[in-house]
Each structure stands twice: as structure tokens, then as C-alpha cells.
Amino acid sequence: MARFSVGYLILLFVIIIFAPYIAPEDPLALDLEHTVEPPSMEHPFGTDGMGRCILSRIIYGARLTSLAGFVAILVGMTAGIPLGLIAGYYRGKIDTVIMMGMETLMGFPYLLLVIVLITMLGPSLQNAMVAIGIWIMPYYTRLARASALSIKEQEFIEAARMSGESNFSIIFRYLFPNSISPIIVWSTIYYARAILMAAGLGFLGLGAQPPTPEWGAMTAIGREYIFLAPHVLFFPSVTILLTALSFNIWGDLLRDILDPRLRGME
């Protein structure tokens, strides 16, 4: 399983980089004479309702969908981690205020929260990324706070304070690097969730707008042809499934590698 997922991710990575060279056709080129054709030698994954090559669209969609996940994680990280480290380091009122805010965010059903945010920002892929980032942020805050709580009690933090380091530099130069490993592992797992979420929003019409080749949006279009031409729905959905699954397995693998207690066990 682990080998398969790493292999898949490497393949995905290559596809993302070399999309224009790999894709057999232009993902946006309409061909109204050959609509909803089943898989053939010419179009390995068939064509969609506008006669566009589904394989090419999936290949280009890999770029957008991966980017969406990446940006969302990045937004969540840059906003969430500093807040969590600050809350865990200072404790007291600052902690209470930050964590109350985060828990309020977490209290909303996630889809509702993201839909509200997108309604405020307007539906587009960029705004979907930001909204997903805001949804992910409180989880990063919690994780960073938990790490900060245990690390700040260690003696090297006291030693740093002793040598006259400022609080700011202790948070970002001592707490942050020491809390990074659970955050990395967690990111791979939430990366998968962010991709799923971006696809879900695309499916609901709140993310990427047609004709953008994005997996979720493609799935949404495919739904119309579910009885007539199931392949239009099948290929993008399976791609989403495999990608999310691979990232999850890879995250587990990474945790096993980074966790010294699990090292050396078969």
C-alpha cells in the first residue's frame, strides 16, 4: 500500500510539472462532433459533454486541484501556527481569547462554514482556497498550541530566556522548529482533506467555475451523464479518491518515519 501510494504521488508530481507535454489534447478544446464518447484509443478516458478529452482535463486538473490543496494548507498554516504557538506560550488571557475564537470556528459544520465564507468572498477557485484555509486554521492552532505547551516546559526554553532571548524569538526560533514534525505529518493528511473539500466545492459550483478543468467541477458535470455515459463521472471521481487515499497513506508513513518511538519496527 505504502509503495503504491508513494508511486502514485510521484506520478502525480511528474504529471503536475509536465502537464502540457503529457496531455494529448488541449483541455479546453471543444469538439462537438465527438461528445460523450466512451474510452477509445484516441481518447483513453473518453470525452465529456462538450467533446473535450477527459484524460487531458484530468492531467491539467491535477495542477489546479493540487494547487488548491497546497494554498489552502499554506493559508491555514501561516494563520494557525503562530496563533497556536502564541496561545500555548503565553497562556492566560491571550490563550483563552485565541482558543475561544478557534473553537467557535470549529463549532460550525465545516461545509456550512466554508459556504458562508465563499458567499461572502464570491465563488471562485481562489476564494475557495482561502475559505478552506480558514476552515483548516483552527486545527493547526490546536496542534501548534499542544506542541508549544509541552515544549515550553523544557529546560532549553528556560535556558533561552536565561540568555536574554526575547519572547518573539523564543516562539519562532525555539518553539516552532521543535514542533514542526507533527505539523508536517498532519499537513499531508489535511492536504488530502483540502483536495476533497476543493473538489466538493467545485461540485457544488462554489469553487472552480466551468470550463476550468478542476476535478470537483468535472465530477459535477459528469453527474448529468451518470446513466448515459458513466465514464464522464467515473474517471475524475476515481482520481480524487486515489489522490486523497495516497496522501493519507503517505501521511501515516511519514508519521512512522518521523516518530522515533516507531522507528525500527516492522
Partner: protein, 324 residues
């Protein structure tokens, strides 16, 4: 007589705990003169480390300074704002911790950590100058192969080497006062001896000017200290020159401590530990805090707390039972 560097007057520190207020320091008085090595001795839990942390203003949030002052030169440290304290920490007063392994940042290379400390308190030129200074410091603490150690992480070093790095960082900015909090108790005896020799060597070379040495061991006290203060349950019970304390100590607690050290010159020396343990500081015994364990207790001890009294030249003691 040289000048007073550090003067702790009537310092009381209380800790709020779930079970109540622990009166950890109860009127500590201590003076350290410039160029002096003062040993602070006592059982675990007698407040030695808390005294050191109070000096640096690093007490945890649950602790409160109830009364007293800590004068360093002209400044009363507990009243100074945080930013001024930061300028004192590490540059004028620095601390060597008990556990060298945990006092270094595990994710940064040794060289980088030393350079960081250097950068905090002094102007160093470019990157190479910083590395050069860090190398000098590692050489000053007799680190073997300093250029190699610069690029290693703390976990790659042995306990003794880690402690040397910690000492190098502590002396990086030529502090006026170095506080060593049991620097030898977490490493084994032979390494501990070398660390101690290093401290004596640094003292002789005047890299370290004044030293507050916290320890459990009379052996270490006799090796390095000029003066000794004995602490019990948050009080200084006896204070004086090292020879006076080692040979003519009068406080029953210090006498008890001395007796509990094995004499290797006697053929069958008996280990005579003191009875009892440190009292719970949430509800300490009234009067003299030592009275429940004291073999020389008189009625007055139960009622009234003894103050430090001058009993001979440079020899102070807090005990009611003492007769001249």
C-alpha cells in the same frame, strides 16, 4: 573589602498550588561580593534553585515574590521591567543548568546556538567573526575538536561535552556573575570532576569573576568555594567562610549534613543520615522550620523563628540553641 555584587534581602517567594500556598522561600538573606565564589548547599527542595531563578526573574507564573529585594549593583531586579531584565540575563548574570542535555535547543547546531547567544548581547562582525568567537569559547572550555563540535547537534555530544557547551554559552558575554545550578550532579563522577576543574580553571583565568555555586556536595564546596551558605526549607541557616563552615559549623542542620558524608579515611566509617525529610512547605512547622528534626531543640524553637546572627567574624547562624 570588595564591593557587594548581589545582595538578597529578606526574600520570600510563595507558590500557588492546588493544595494551598507553598512558602518556598521564607526570608532569605544572602550577599555575594565581587570576585567571590559562594556555595549554596542544602537538601533537595530547600529552595536553592528557586533562589537562583528569582535572581534572574525566571520564576514560573504560579510563583509570587511576597517580600524582599534582590539587589544587583544598584538595581533591585524584581522591580525592573522585562526588557531591562533581558539585558542583564545572559550578559551580566548567566546560569548553567543542572541537565545539560535539556538546556540546549535540540534542533539547532551547537555552533549556531553559541553564535546566537553572542549576537544577543554584543556586536559581532560578519559570520566568520562569529564562528571564530564561538570556536574560541569552545576552546576556552577545553572542548576536544571544537571545529567538529560546532557542526554537531546537542544529541550527538556526551553529557560532559553538552555541559561544556552550556558553560561556553554562559560565559559567552563575560558575565559578572555566573550561577551554576548543580552543574555536576547530572553527569557521572569523573566527568563531574572535570567540569569542576574547568570551573576552577576558568575562575583562575578570570573568565568567571563571581560565581554562585549551587550543590549538594561538601566535597565540591571545599574544592571551589570561598564562602558557603547552607539552606534549609527556604531559610539560610548558616553562612560563613568555607573553612569555618567545614570545620567549625554550629547549626545542627549543617552538622547533620556533615555527618552524613562518608569519611573515606576511616576504615569502617558509618553513614549516618539525618532523620526525617524536608517539611511540606504548604504547612511548614512554626518557629524554626528545622525543629521537628533537630536534636538540639529547645522550647523557644517551636515558637519563634531564629534570625541570622553574627557569632564570629564572617560567620552567621540562625539557631536559638547556640550558646557561646
Amino acid at each position: 573589602m570588595s564591593e557587594k555584587l548581589l545582595e538578597i534581602r529578606d526574600l520570600s517567594v510563595h507558590f500557588n498550588t492546588f493544595e494551598g500556598v507553598a512558602k518556598v522561600l521564607d526570608g532569605v538573606c544572602l550577599t555575594l561580593y565581587e570576585g567571590e565564589v559562594l556555595g549554596l548547599i542544602g537538601e533537595s527542595g530547600s529552595g536553592k534553585t528557586v533562589t537562583a531563578l528569582t535572581v534572574l526573574g525566571l520564576l514560573p507564573v504560579s510563583a509570587k515574590i511576597v517580600s524582599g529585594s534582590v539587589y544587583f549593583h544598584e538595581d533591585n531586579l524584581p522591580t525592573l521591567p522585562e526588557y531591562k531584565l533581558r539585558n542583564i540575563r545572559g550578559s551580566k548574570i548567566s546560569l548553567v543548568f543542572q541537565e545539560p542535555g535539556t538546556s540546549l535547543n535540540p534542533v539547532a547546531k551547537v555552533g549556531g546556538q553559541i553564535i546566537d547567544v553572542l549576537k544577543l548581547h554584543q556586536e559581532i562582525g560578519d559570520k566568520n567573526a562569529g564562528r571564530g568567537k564561538a570556536m574560541e569559547l569552545l576552546e576556552a572550555v577545553n572542548m576536544p575538536r571544537p571545529s567538529l563540535v560546532m557542526n554537531q547537534y546537542p544529541h550527538e555530544l556526551s553529557g560532559g561535552m553538552q555541559q561544556r557547551v552550556a558553560i561556553a554559552m554562559a560565559i559567552a558575554s563575560n558575565p559578572e556573575l555566573l550561577i551554576a545550578d548543580e552543574p555536576t550532579s547530572s553527569v557521572d563522577v569523573t566527568v563531574g570532576k572535570r567540569i569542576l576543574e574547568l570551573m576552577i580553571y576558568l575562575k583562575e583565568k578570570e573568565t568567571i569573576s563571581s560565581l554562585l555555586f549551587i550543590t549538594h556536595s561538601f566535597g565540591i564546596i571545599s574544592e571551589i568555594c570561598d564562602k558557603v551558605a547552607a539552606m534549609y526549607a527556604g531559610n539560610i541557616v548558616e553562612y560563613g567562610d568555607v573553612d569555618t563552615i567545614l570545620h567549625k559549623c554550629c547549626h545542627p542542620y549543617v552538622k547533620g549534613l556533615m555527618k552524613s558524608v562518608l569519611d573515606i579515611h576511616k576504615k569502617r566509617s558509618e553513614l549516618r543520615p539525618m532523620k526525617g525529610t524536608i517539611p511540606r512547605l504548604i504547612n511548614p512547622p512554626g518557629g524554626c522550620r528545622f525543629h521537628p528534626r533537630c536534636p538540639e531543640r529547645i522550647d523557644k524553637c517551636l515558637l519563634e523563628k531564629p534570625n541570622l546572627k553574627l557569632i564570629a567574624k564572617n560567620h552567621f547562624m540562625a539557631c536559638h540553641a547556640y550558646k557561646e
